[in-house]
């Protein structure tokens, strides 16, 4: 599904590598959380998978397409199969939930009619399914900006779902939400992932949430993978290896009994 080889990313010539990964693979249907302190390379990794960050060297292959070498057309096709969810939602301003979710179909819709808001019945059906799936049917015709943070992130999830993605990348999807909303959104993402059996890779700031909602955890430190395994094997000493500090009050073992 996704394979990364000898990947190296640098921001600036003489800067240390922001990301340096020898070998990393994700299979279809995996639910992965990427953790690590700020600047460890979580976002860089996700943005690299979307092709928004150009590596100095290395190979990223997604759905059999070499992300940085394939012809543009092929890249675009793969691009459409990758949904992206942001910390700041990035919804189209002053548009309703429904319009925002329809935006997820832009890559597949016929270009000219879509500019005037016309989408095929199929596109509209897929978008509506996505809205149903995130449970926003009642708010469908509200302006997205007026919703709460948690609801806005649901809209973003629905927009990504409308793409019918094989891979969903969520870049700190819950960092701007309160703990309850955060748990709800992560719960939703997990359910969606299970239902569609696609791959979900999310970067999370709280190891607690990673343990609760991911099947596999990748720990990054200074751009390198220092941990890769199931949540059970993420022990306190491993955590220290990732975050480089002791006495992590965030590392609360009692809270790890969330959904599996």
């Amino acid at each position: 599904m996704v394979s990364i080889e000898h990947l190296e990313v640098r921001y600036g010539k003489n800067k240390p590598a922001a990301l340096s990964i020898q070998n990393l693979r994700f299979e279809g249907g995996e639910r992965v959380a990427v953790i690590g302190s700020s600047g460890a390379g979580k976002s860089t990794l996700l943005r690299c998978l979307k092709g928004y960050v150009q590596p100095v060297q290395g190979k990223v292959e997604i759905l059999g397409c070499n992300l940085f070498l394939a012809p543009r057309r092929q890249r675009n096709r793969v691009n459409r199969k990758i949904g992206l969810i942001y910390q700041q939602f990035h919804l189209a301003p002053r548009m309703t939930v429904w319009q925002n979710v329809l935006c997820g179909r832009l890559g597949a819709a016929r270009p000219l009619p879509s500019l005037f808001g016309y989408f095929s019945p199929r596109d509209r059906r897929i978008a509506w399914e996505a809205i149903c799936e995130v449970g926003l049917t009642d708010l469908a015709h509200q302006v997205a900006e007026t919703l709460s943070g948690g609801e806005q992130q649901r809209v973003a999830v629905a927009r990504a779902l409308a793409q019918r993605p094989s891979l969903i990348l969520a870049d700190e999807p819950v960092s701007s939400l309160d703990p309850l909303r955060a748990a709800e959104v992560l719960q939703l993402l997990s359910e969606v992932q299970k239902h569609h059996e696609n791959t979900l890779i999310m970067s999370l700031h709280q190891p607690r949430l990673a343990k609760a909602y991911a099947k596999r955890i990748i720990g990054l430190r200074e751009g390198r993978v220092v941990f890769d395994g199931p949540p059970e094997s993420l022990t306190e000493s491993k955590m220290e290896g990732i975050y480089g500090g002791k006495n992590l009050i965030l590392f609360d073992d009692h809270a790890t009994t969330g959904s599996g």
Binding site: G83, R94, C103, G107, A160
Partner: protein, 272 residues
């Protein structure tokens, strides 16, 4: 007692401020000398001004022709020509907006590669740099006297201004949405339509309204070079030394400009 540490670089900042002050003074002084500013002349100008104003006042506000002045009175003429001035401005702004709309997006640095936005920006700057009066002279020579060359002049000038302002609005639009839509596979037009347009549409409307109200002023002046409208009659009456009629025309022009400005302000306030 604990004193705060001295602010670093304070001496340097004072020097910079002094330098700015000195440069501004120098430039203004240069302008003062160059424009032959003379306060004593201004003080002694009262009698001339009074004479001129006494010829203009009161404005000729008769509506029906009289025995002594059997031709159409200026007020009636003004009422008829106000429409032309408005029409020049509205149509000119519309045509300018049409072109500026496309060019504005192309000129936005964040939306297009440098080999597109740079030439477009340069072109817009060139269009802006030609004074409206010169454009009007050019079009009067090309298509003849009348309101039509005025429309063209206003349109061309508006392209330059509006295109630049549209581009600036796009450049300050929030970028995340663009990337989010890029990530769903939207093409350039779709991204402009759904990520940028909702962010800038109100500002665009506001800029267009502002432009209309500026163009009414501009089109009034264009009369001096043979374009129809209020300005034409101001010029005609001035040549005939009929200053009371000039005053009427100026008065109507002021009223129209103020009215349109107020309307535009009101609408723009709603838009925000």
């Amino acid at each position: 007692m604990i004193m705060p540490p001295p602010v670093p670089g304070k001496g340097k900042r004072i020097a910079v401020h002094l330098f700015i002050l000195a440069s501004v003074t120098a430039v203004l002084g240069w302008s003062w000398v160059g424009t032959e500013m003379n306060l004593s002349e201004l003080a002694g100008s009262g009698s001339n001004l009074r004479l001129f104003l006494s010829r203009m006042l009161p404005p000729d506000l008769t509506w029906n022709p009289t025995e002594a002045r059997p031709f159409v009175p200026p007020l009636r003429l003004a009422a008829a020509t106000v429409a032309v001035t408005l029409q020049i401005s509205l149509l000119g702004t519309f045509l300018g907006t049409l072109a500026a709309f496309g060019l504005g997006f192309l000129a936005a640095e964040n939306l297009t590669p440098i080999w597109i936005h740079h030439p477009v920006k340069t072109m817009l700057a060139l269009l802006r740099s030609i004074p409206v009066l010169v454009l009007a002279l050019l079009f009067v020579a090309a298509v003849g006297l009348g309101p039509f060359p005025g429309v063209l002049a206003i349109a061309i000038h508006s392209i330059g201004m509006l295109g630049k302002l549209f581009a600036e609005q796009c450049e300050s639009a929030e970028w995340g949405v663009w990337e989010a839509l890029d990530s769903v596979g939207a093409n350039w037009l779709q991204k402009v339509r759904f990520a940028i347009w909702p962010q800038v549409s109100r500002q665009f409307a506001s800029l267009i309204l502002f432009r209309i109200d500026m163009n009414i002023r501009e089109s009034a002046v264009l009369g001096f070079v043979g374009v129809g409208g209020l300005g034409l009659w101001i010029e005609n009456y001035r040549r005939a030394f009929d200053y009371r009629s000039v005053a009427t025309m100026v008065l109507v022009t002021m009223l129209v400009v103020l009215a349109v400005e107020q309307a535009s302000i009101q609408i723009r306030r709603r838009l925000r």
